[in-house]
Every structure is written in structure tokens, then in C-alpha cells.
Symmetry: C2
């Protein structure tokens, strides 16, 4: 069995976007096998196990990811992940990947793929609510698909926003208030909020939103009236209802699963299109095990590994 | 992160029985956290992911196990498993264990614990239907709890039965037909059968049965009338209905979940007892993630490990 460490550093973001796009096409076609992820919850954190099989890439495995928002105080990452890859022919463990960086990248890539299909423009003003690690990955993945005319960012943590600006001198980035940040073509929300931050009236017609932050029951970032107003695309319906941006509005009866416009797989396959600047589209991202397998297939191709003795 | 290889060789079967007994007590008390295991199925095999948290032992993690009956033809084990241990305080990955041997042992231990509480005798005639690796583990675990007066075995594969006899010269073992094998105090079935092997009329009152083989939808080893006649104990109700010995009879409407006498946790906690030789008891074992965590806690204590760099 091989162990891959820091394999995200060997990957090209544009190639990651393409393989994630392919994974969503497989999901849309119904060929991928993926039960909804399982949560084990603790008072202040949880860990999730995400098994799947992606026949198109001949890859099977499980990602295990822990999400502990209070870890920063201990100088530990709030997200830590490992992916185990299993031979789809024999079940033999093939590889273990340190998947923390890969998780960040594949989530960024899903946002880029969603915007590629749901934002009709090619040159955009980008708004980022939250400026942590996932905001960086969204920016980097979107920059492969769009020309970024202007980037507006807001963070509750002002020094974090300033560090973000410094990290990307190649872009026009301005620190704004939330309302001004929302005045954009593609808005990305990446906060761990449990109360809506984004007001419906701040969002003009023509906007596409990547709602990334909500990935567990109780989390939400958008005013629910925005979900009712817009067309909501999910990565996976079961997971979105359980733990995505729509989970709280569904639990409260404000939004119902039959109001979902489609999956990102539907959009990638061209079953549902957005050709005009009318209305608002929202991509509700929870993160799929097949994204983890798809990016793992690149890590196995380009990453460095060492040997772990699985059998003597 | 530490990697534990062949840690089952450092373990004492009697100590394993006790920690598995403790895990079932925790399960019975409702303190363990364990969603039902997830299956990803292929045409001829499946893999299962089994996350849990066992507060009494301060251990959390996930076992991933692949079950591929046709692997023997490729000289690969039919069962291969790894367990990832996560720090229950921070979510940080602590250890990875090669868990193939540990899986065998913890399943054997569950059988021994079930028989300890559900067979009123201390000196027994043991019957084994199937003589593969799990039969060995059942024998070794039961031998810690009972005095074995006589052991009767049957296998479809005669040379396998002969090798079994040779492996345990310390016991009186005779190769019998299935009917004669069933004439015993504790019967253990460990085959991958999808049609019942054990006839109701072969089982006399007073017998306790460990039904181990059925661990996936469609598998069954016992005549369903035996389930209706006996008192059925399960390791976990949800898992047993989905994939245990009762799964096919439940799907066919021959057995219903409300006919379950109790869980092994109930028996260990003394809530439900068997004091007399009347009737038949059946333990339907599917295998619980908390068993994997419990035995992992011993492996972490006694096993040898090497270091895997999880973070630079």
C-alpha cells in the first residue's frame, strides 16, 4: 500500500476542474455509486465517512474527514482528511492519501464547475464572503474558468481579509462590506455560519452563488427567501437536504426538495441550462465522495508516495 | 500518525473477549455512537465503512473492510480491513491499523460473549458448520469461556476440515455430517451461504447458535422456522434487519423485527437472561464498528507500530 503525502502540491488546478467536472457528469448519469456520507457527531465537531465507486475512473475508496472549528486555538487545522483507495477488482487497499489539501481543492473545483455552467458571463466581478482557505481555493479554481475583472471580499476577521489581498497581488481585490461584496456576478460564501448572512435584497438578478459553507445540519449562510427566489442546484439531493444550504429551510418548511432545479450533474450534462442573465442561480455544495475519488486519481498519477507494508 | 501491522499477534484472546463484552455493554446502555455501516456493492463483492465513537474507551474511528469471496482464487484474503483511529478531542488522525486479523478476532470474541450469556452450560459439545478462518477464531474465543468436551465440524471442503483437525491437536475434533454436527450445545455457522443449510429438526432444545456467516443482504444459513422457534438476539437491530441472518426472512415476511428477543448488549447488562436449557437461542452477528474500536484499543496498547508522517 502506498502513502501519498502533500500530493495536492503536484496538481494543476485546471486539470482538477476537468476531472471534477467529469465526476459530476458521472453522478448525473447515475453510473457512480455513492451512499450519503455518514456523520459521527461530538459536542463541538464531527467526522464524516464518505465511501464511493467511480467506474469511469476505475477508482473506489473512502474519505474520512474531521471538521473541528475550534482546532485553530490548538494550532491544528479545522479540517483534516485521509482517503483510502481500494482496488475495484479485488478490494485490496492500494493507497492512503493525506487528503486535507485535496479536499480544499476539489471543493474549489466544484464551485468553478458550477459557475462555468450557471454563470453566463466569461468576465466577472467575483464576491467572496469569508476569506479562509476555502475562499482561496474557490478563487484559484474560478480563475481557471473566468477572467476576474474585480474581486470584492468580506471577512468578519479583518486581518484575514488583508492577508488574502496580499496573497493575490495579481488580482484587483478590495475589502468591502457584505452588501457591496454581494454586488457581483459570482458570489461565493464559505463561512461556518448558523444564521443567514446574505440578504435577498443585496443580490441582483444575473448573479450566480456558490453556497459552500453549509455542510452540516444547522448550518446556513443565505436568507431563505433567496433560495425561494432563485434556482437551486445541488451536488447531491440527499446530502443537500441533510446538511447543505437548504437543510435548515427544509427542516423549517420554507423550502422543499421538489423546489430543487436540478443537480450539478444535470447542468454538466446539459439537461438544464442557464443561457441568460435573468434571475439568480445557487449551487448548494455539500461535497461528494466521488469528488474525493476523482481528485485522488490525479494525486495517484502525479503525487509522490512512500510504501506502507499492508501485507507481509 | 502511527501504523500498526499484525497487531493481532500481540493480543490475548481472553482479554479480547472482555473488551468486546464491555463494548456490547456500552452499546446496550446507549452510550456508544454508531450509525449503521455503509455498503458499496460490486457484482461479486462489497466494501463496508464502519464509523463509531466509544466513550467508555475514549476511542473514535472508522473501519473499512472489503469482502470478496472470489479472492481465494487470486491468493488474496477474502476479507481485508483497515481501521483509522481519530483523536476524540481534536479529530486528528492518530493511528492506522491493519485490521484483517483484528476483524477475525473481534468476531470470534462476540460469539464467545454471546455463548457466555446465552448457553447455560460451562462444559459443552461445540458444533462448527464451516471450517474457515472465522471458525478458528470462534473456537479459540469459545475455548476461553467454556470447557470443550467434544468438537464436531463440517465443511463443504473436506481437506479444509482435515487441516482444521490437525491445527488443534489439543481438542477432540471429529469431522461429521451437518446433522451430526448440529447435535451439540453451541453451534457456530460461518459459511457465506445464500440458502439455509441448517434444518430446524436437527437442532435440539437447549442449543445456542452463533449465526456468524450472514453479514450482507441475501445471505442466510438457518432454516427460518428455527428463527421463529428460537429466541433471536442481535448485535444491532438496524444492521441485523439490513444484513444479518434475519435479513432474508424479514424481507420475505417470515420474521419481523419485533420478534427479536433483544440485543447482545441487553444480555450482557442482565436485562434479558437465559437460565435454563429450555428452547433455542440464536445470536445473529453482523459485526459492529464498536467491536473494531474496542479491539483496536488493545492493539494500540500492545501492538508494534511505525510512524507515518501525517503532517510535515
Amino acid at each position: 500500500m502506498k502513502y501519498y503525502f502533500e500530493s495536492e502540491k503536484s496538481l494543476d488546478m485546471s486539470e482538477v476542474n476537468r476531472i471534477i467536472e467529469r465526476a459530476f457528469a458521472e453522478h448525473g448519469s447515475g453510473r457512480a455509486r455513492m451512499p450519503s456520507k455518514l456523520y459521527v457527531t461530538f459536542p463541538h465537531w464531527d467526522f464524516r465517512t464518505m465511501p464511493a465507486y467511480l467506474p469511469a475512473l476505475s477508482i473506489a475508496g473512502v474519505k474520512i474527514v474531521t471538521v473541528h472549528p475550534e482546532n485553530r486555538a490548538l494550532n491544528l487545522p479545522s479540517v483534516m482528511a485521509l482517503t483510502l483507495i481500494i482496488d475495484p477488482a479485488t478490494g485490496h487497499p492500494l493507497a492512503l492519501l493525506n487528503a486535507t489539501g485535496l479536499t480544499d481543492m476539489r471543493t474549489g473545483a466544484a464551485g468553478a464547475v458550477a459557475a462555468k455552467y450557471l454563470c453566463p458571463k466569461k468576465e466577472i466581478v467575483l464576491g467572496l464572503i469569508g476569506t479562509g482557505r476555502q475562499a482561496e481555493n474557490q478563487l484559484e479554481a474560478l480563475a481557471e474558468e473566468f477572467s476576474l475583472r474585480d474581486v470584492r471580499i468580506w471577512s468578519r476577521d479583518e486581518p484575514l481579509a488583508e492577508a488574502f489581498v496580499k496573497k493575490y497581488p495579481q488580482y484587483e481585490i478590495s475589502i468591502c462590506n457584505p452588501k457591496k461584496t454581494c454586488d457581483c456576478d459570482v458570489l461565493v460564501t464559505t463561512t461556518p455560519s448558523r444564521t443567514p448572512i446574505i440578504k435577498n435584497k443585496w443580490i441582483h438578478d444575473g448573479t450566480h452563488i456558490n453556497a459552500i459553507g453549509a455542510d452540516a445540519p444547522g448550518k446556513q449562510e443565505l436568507d431563505p427567501t433567496l433560495l425561494v427566489r432563485g434556482r437551486v442546484f445541488v451536488d447531491d439531493t440527499g446530502q443537500a437536504v441533510h446538511s447543505g444550504e437548504i437543510n435548515v429551510p427544509v427542516a423549517k418548511g420554507i423550502f422543499s426538495p421538489d423546489m430543487i432545479a436540478g443537480t450539478l450533474g444535470d447542468a454538466v450534462l446539459g439537461r438544464i441550462k442557464r443561457d441568460t442573465d435573468e434571475g439568480v442561480t445557487i449551487f448548494d455544495s455539500t461535497g461528494l465522495a466521488i469528488q474525493d475519488l476523482a481528485i485522488a486519481s490525479l494525486a495517484l498519477k502525479y503525487g509522490k508516495s512512500s510504501e506502507i507494508p499492508f501485507y507481509a
